[in-house]
Amino acid sequence: MAVCPVYTTQSLNSTCSISTPSKTHFSSHHNHLVFYRTSKRTSKRGGSSSCVITCSAGDSQTVVIGLAADSGCGKSTFMRRLTSVFGGAAEPPKGGNPDSNTLISDMTTVICLDDYHSLDRTGRKEKGVTALDPRANDFDLMYEQVKALKSGIAVDKPIYNHVSGLLDPPELIKPPKILVIEGLHPMFDERVRDLLDFSIYLDISNEVKFAWKIQRDMAERGHSLESIKASIEARKPDFDAFIDPQKQYADAVIEVLPTQLIPDDNEGKVLRVRLIMKEGVEHFSPVYLFDEGSTISWIPCGRKLTCSYPGIKFSYGPDTYFGHEVSVLEMDGQFDRLDELIYVESHLSNLSTKFYGEVTQQMLKHADFPGSNNGTGLFQTIVGLKIRDLYEQITASKTAAPLQATKA
């Protein structure tokens, strides 16, 4: 007979209610009992003060992933690749606010942290703060809600509408198997950081950022090279002060830089991408090339593999990053053909693939996504597989451990 852990909960608006956890969290073998206990009514103040004890099965703990990125929410390529690894396409919640930033698939729910803005566009203008500034964000609410979802409790999450610049009425978010929180500040608040099972920081260098924003904005009336540059420059102080420091906390950093293979390249088309992986992270074993812990420099193009200009260059080795031991896998260049990709995959180890060629298969599935021919796509896919592996390890360890009742 399974015994459930017992929690006391208080709902956010201080009138307690019994939360009905979504079906997916209870396997058919577990019965659950909900105990409802009211404290003595204080008739002077009116209304009862009651605590609710929610019983959830041991495997209902949601795995929480944090992704720090400055490229909008939920529609980023990384998110699409990640949700694809778990199967199914992530879509906005059906029938709700059409401007919702949330994406839901079978296994994952992706929440945009802009939804925790405490100031809407007008409010920020009045106070003179950018969206990058912590003063524009409600970290208390972010913490409460991520904590609730992690414990299997549904929440009413605000919606920040990027079109109107207003905060819309909340939407109900049910606890998923995997919760991804994406945005500018997933690792800013220490309490939220402690809730993350894995965290990633997407570190785009200034030159590459400029090149990408040119591609994004040049077709828009109103934009020019100058305006694009001015926008990046004006946001830089806040970015450096508030966003960039989060990378020291990330379990994995994907650093995107201009290529070193083409002298004086400023088109930003060929990229050098570094996957910086923290050592000693629970449930996460870094990818390596040839010999774990050694230093390798590898050009796969040669007799067995012909590549077109500028070719492909890999390197791997141990390093330190903000005082932490890390392993760094780096790819400079581009894939032109399928056989290059599979050749590279066959030489990498600890990929957490379920079958030979899975990385290549995932990349091919999304050949139209940006970065599919370089390190960004490759490393995003690999990180996706690592997260799957982490999720499976965490879930396995939970069902194995005996469940105990804890004091309310």
Partner: protein, 93 residues
């Protein structure tokens, strides 16, 4: 009346409206930012103005991505339930 899918996935008037609104906002906010920053480049007002430009530029890009690449109109499920609203009028040529 025949239903045509416009320009990729934009089927509903609401999406057309958003697309147009965002484009206009980009233009407007770039102009504003240039004006505000002319006075004092290092002011808070200046950086907030350019941050707004970034916000609407990204929102426009997200919409464009959904329509042209994913070929989905995100009003689809909303309009299935609320076909009578102004936003859900089907855009046809």
């Amino acid at each position: 009346m025949t239903i045509n899918a416009m320009r990729g996935g934009a089927k509903y008037k609401g999406t057309q409206m958003r697309d147009k609104q965002l484009s206009e906002m980009i233009e407007k906010k770039v102009t504003e930012a240039k004006q505000v920053c002319e006075a004092d480049e290092t002011s808070d007002e200046c950086k907030v103005a350019w941050d707004e430009v970034e916000e609407v530029s990204q929102a426009k890009a997200d919409l464009r991505l959904r329509l042209e690449v994913e070929k989905k109109d995100h009003l689809e499920s909303f309009c299935l339930e609320n076909p009578e609203t102004e936003e859900c009028r089907v855009y046809d040529d």
